[in-house]
Amino acid sequence: MLSPMIQGILTTSISEGLVYAFVAIGVFLTLRVLAFPDLTVDGSFVVGGSLAAVMIAGGYNPFLATIAAFLGGLATGSITGLLNTKLRLPALLAGILMMVGLYSVNLLIMGRPNIPLLRDITIFDSIASWFGTERSTILVIIVFAVTAFITFMILNWFLRTEIGLALRATGDNEQMVRSLGVDTDKNILMGCAISNGLVALSGALVAQNQQFCDVNMGIGMIVMGLAAVIIGEALIHPRGVASMLLTALTGTFLYRLFITIALRLGLAPGNLKLITALLVITALAIPFIRKKIRHEWMPPATRW
């Protein structure tokens, strides 16, 4: 049907897009919904990966390990939230301090910089054995897609509940929400916790997919999350909760697609990141120019 090269590009981009989508959703939740720029992501990603890796290497059930990773992310996000709400540290600083400190915490959790999971039973191996097949890229994509779908549905429901609405309102206009008697501190705490829980979940899944967890693997995650969110927003203008989540997913998929294409262009190895950046710029310039031609372009609410 499609040439093997295009098939390869699409499968890699889809599988990576799905797993890193949790990072984008987490970033979206704090950055756009809560208006709280949370940089903890680099650290909480590895918190998830390291908790899962330590437990799986220790022989525990991989599903338990992944849930533990999520809980670890919840705890991490809570601390960031507490730093901001109780100690009144500015949001950016709280995130940065957590990101810096978590590097050491992750080394302590793992006890070493790198834990290989090649010989251990991960979530994918368990699921493969249920169906009596071998682990393969298609299986990985299906697992990621199902997890993404479930998370999507849960978030979709949650953000429409009273608590969820209060969360969204806090990001929109905190003063007004406070004047109505709502404890915005609790909302910020909850939002940070859930966001980092999702990022940690992503870290656990990535560690099990690439079959090792390294303390340095979180470096650059916040950049990727931000890029994914902003690319998605430029192409899909999110109006409601469902489109918000779709934005994160699309943005991640496109960003990984550009990286995968850049990898295959066969240019000098050092130019990879430059090519990725140029591809993203080109992709975003196209809708902008289209709108300009039709005189439909409106400046966005924020410059960022």
């Binding site: 098939q7 890699t12 693997m217 295959r264």
Partner: protein, 334 residues
């Protein structure tokens, strides 16, 4: 007029975006008999030597670049997620062999190649068993992987340093606690330091190349000499450590010949060109039909480890290397 200009720009960008992936297929040229995927996590001179040695040995065995071999070389530029993407690309393109340099790439490539039948030959991965790449170093083993480790004999290195500087009591070590190879080597150092007469070890860690200078500065006045293991992060920031060592007159010892060329006093370390050549010889054997599991993993042979000294660098650090050591050095750097 403005609208027309925008339209042309729009058209051009659309075309570029859509056409780019297809252009690569056409630009590849004639298809070679063997395709070898090569990847590395970060680039520095020792790894270039590794690559160079690999291609040399492959050419000697009859696998010549441009004649019957195409090398696909990609650098992950320090990004672990890229290392995984690169490994996936090699697997989806069904390359004939993967040559993985450095530990994170080896891990990603071995994981991606599992079950696909693509053999993996690694090099410059210090502790392959600890990294989970191979089950054991000996053959035969069920793995689809073989390679060459750059683990250097820590005792021989320390004895060399003690010979050059007998009065050494406290040794400062700079490394990235986030690199398995460095943690393993520092562990070995702690085990043997009593045997060679080093009383105390002062550690300074750096998690990125930007922190190397700070780590080096933190050792001023706290140690008699500085040493770094084969740590990718510290090596990338070597010049910063050299600057601190020269300004404060602290002797600085490295662990590979390239470090000495760049300004360390001395090193007795693995010859990375030798490592690359050995990996190339292994790869040639695998391509000719041998199973990787039948080839034992080795580290740099002692006779291939070079003692390199740099008297000029020593002088700049206010130190003189004993003539006896210079006499038996394999190479004297300028």
């Amino acid at each position: 007029m403005k609208k027309k200009g925008l339209l042309v720009l729009l058209g051009g960008l659309c075309l570029a975006l859509v056409a780019l992936p297809f252009m690569t297929g056409c630009a590849a040229g004639e298809k070679m008999e063997y395709r070898i995927g090569e990847s590395v996590i970060i680039e520095h001179p020792d790894l270039f030597s590794d690559q160079y040695g690999f291609r040399l040995a492959m050419a000697e065995a009859g696998f010549v670049e441009g004649v019957n071999v195409e090398y696909i070389f990609l650098c992950a530029e320090g990004d672990m997620s890229l290392a995984k993407s690169i490994a996936d690309r090699f697997v989806s393109e069904k390359v004939d062999l993967i040559h993985a340099i450095t530990t994170p790439n080896s891990q990603a490539c071995v994981a991606a190649a599992e079950g696909t039948g693509i053999p993996v030959v690694f090099s410059t991965c210090t502790a392959p068993a600890e990294a989970g790449i191979v089950s054991t170093w000996d053959a035969p083993r069920p793995d689809n992987v073989t390679g060459v480790s750059d683990m250097a004999d820590m005792k021989a290195q320390m004895e060399m340093i003690k010979e050059i500087m007998p009065e050494l009591r406290v040794l400062g070590v700079i490394y990235n606690a986030g690199e398995v190879n460095s943690v393993v080597q520092t562990g070995q150092l702690k085990d043997i330091m009593a045997d060679v007469g080093i009383e105390e070890l002062v550690e300074a860690t750096c998690s990125t190349t930007a922190e190397v200078a700070t780590a080096a500065a933190s050792l001023i006045g706290r140690c008699d000499a500085i040493y770094i293991p084969t740590d990718n992060t510290a090596v990338s920031g070597l010049e910063a450590i050299i600057a601190v060592a020269e300004e404060n007159k602290i002797p600085f010892f490295g662990s590979t010949g390239d470090m000495v060329d760049r300004g360390c006093i001395a090193a007795k370390g693995a010859n990375y060109t030798w490592i690359g050549k050995e990996a190339g010889r292994y790869a040639a054997r695998v391509l000719k039909g041998e199973s990787p599991g039948d080839i034992p993993v080795v580290m740099c042979a002692p006779e291939a480890c070079l003692l390199v000294v740099n008297p000029g660098a020593a002088k700049r650090m206010g130190f003189t290397i004993p003539q006896s050591v210079i006499a038996k050095a394999d190479r004297v750097a300028e």
